[in-house]
Amino acid sequence: MKKTFYFLLIFSFFIGISFWSFQEIGYEWNWVSIYEYRTKFLEGFKTTIWISISALILSVFIALVNALLLGSQSSFLNALGTFYVELVRGTPLLVQLLLIFYVFAQSFGINNRYLVGIYSLALFSGAYVSEIFRAGLESIPKAQWDAARVMGLTDGTILRLIILPQAFRVVLPPLAGQFISLIKDSSLLSVIAISELTLNAQEVNSYTYSTLESYIPLAILYLLLTLPLSQVIKVLEKKMKYET
């Protein structure tokens, strides 16, 4: 309760400062012309939502497969998994997108930019998610495996009943951060002309020359996606707490 109050207080202060700053620089608002393009924002918002959700689900699958590669006995598969993580984490998403779309996808004759966009984003995020999964699994003490093994449980059952439920709780907070990043990173898909929220806002800006009026709604719309996600994960975290 107290926290909500302070949150609102800080929020009002932030709004106040913002209004004051715009007043100081004498910014002339032009919301009317922006309002004409409201459907453009809405369309972009919808695209961002479904692209993010698709990439998010796909990235979890990619991460699971890669976690298996990293944990496998074969040194070839190990090297493959490590190569993927290092390459993807070490280079800018922008460059990855351009290369994947204009070079690799074209050479294989794949022209659907939405498909390529979703896969690129998932591939990018998957590298981070697989590292989160690996860290989560490794955070469970070996003694838990020992205790379960000497009961006569098989490794698969131990993973399912003992290890994963504990690891899930550990990975939730970093996973939330990664998913929020993914939503915001989807804005980069504008460089391969996917008309998601950011590209549409850029277009509205070029029609109206009202830069801030185009971009402020952009920020608010992204917040509308990321804030509920944070909340959902927080509730999940609370539910998973061990105390009775």
Binding site: A143, Q144, R149, V150, M151, Q166, E243
Partner: protein
């Protein structure tokens, strides 16, 4: 309980942890004692099939643990107690205890719960059945871990320093329970630093030193041994 070890050696990296150990034991309770680093806990890990010997052979109750993959069937017949309890923190005490029954021995949840609850009642732990391990005291945790190990009526119970993470009062709680199990005639291999209980419940005591068996004999013979290493050890633990 029948233990048969022949020339068992075990290395970790370059270091020899157990060297050429041979044991024959055919009674109820065998206690392993000896200085820290003498290889007691490692020997116990070999006996419960968590490690394989580097060389030599191990047989417990006729089951050969030397070769082959995970001996699941052997594990179903034993119970193991760890120094750090190793309860599963995401499950309640009751869920911890019934897990081996429902997931390994194919007993349905109602019956397993009933069995667990009557056991908990007997040892005065019933009020704590729905608590997660985090909200139990150390002594309660270890007693729950013992319940989890004995609910399947194991042929042998292996205990790896079950009280060394506990304060004296909680140690008392746990040792009482172990004595109760001894009265019920349960076969046990017991690694401990608690000499009084070792003396009281063991049929034989095995003194390990630097990975080798220094002496295996009746408690009284070990405690009154004139071997300088043993007398020095006894002096230190009784200080």
């Amino acid at each position: 309980m029948k233990l048969e070890l022949q020339n068992v050696s075990f290395d970790i990296g370059q270091e020899r942890i157990l060297n050429n150990i041979s044991i024959t034991f055919n009674q109820k309770v065998l206690t392993l004692i000896g200085p820290s680093g003498s290889g007691k806990s490692t020997l116990l890990r070999l006996l419960v099939s968590l490690e394989k010997p580097f060389s030599g052979s191990i047989e417990v109750n006729g089951e050969n643990l030397t070769h082959g993959k995970d001996p699941i069937n052997y594990r179903k017949k034993i119970g193991v107690i760890f120094q750090a309890f190793n309860l599963f923190p995401h499950l309640s005490a009751l869920e911890n205890i019934i897990l081996p029954l429902t997931k390994i021995h194919g007993i349905n949840k109602e019956e397993a719960t009933e069995r667990a609850q009557s056991l908990l009642k007997r040892f005065n732990l019933l009020n704590h059945q729905f608590k997660k391990p985090m909200s139990l005291s150390g002594g309660q945790k270890q007693r729950m871990a013992i319940m989890r190990a004995i609910i399947t009526k194991p042929e042998v119970l292996f205990l790896d320093e079950p009280t060394s993470a506990l304060d004296p009062e909680m140690t008392g709680e746990v040792l009482e329970l172990i004595q109760e199990l001894k009265r019920e005639n349960m076969g046990m291999v017991f690694v401990t630093h608690e000499m009084r209980i070792a003396k009281k419940i063991s049929d034989e005591i095995l003194f390990l030193n630097r990975g080798e068996v220094l002496k295996q004999a009746k408690p009284i013979e070990v405690f009154e041994s004139s071997d300088p290493i043993i007398t020095q050890f006894m002096k230190r633990v009784y200080l």
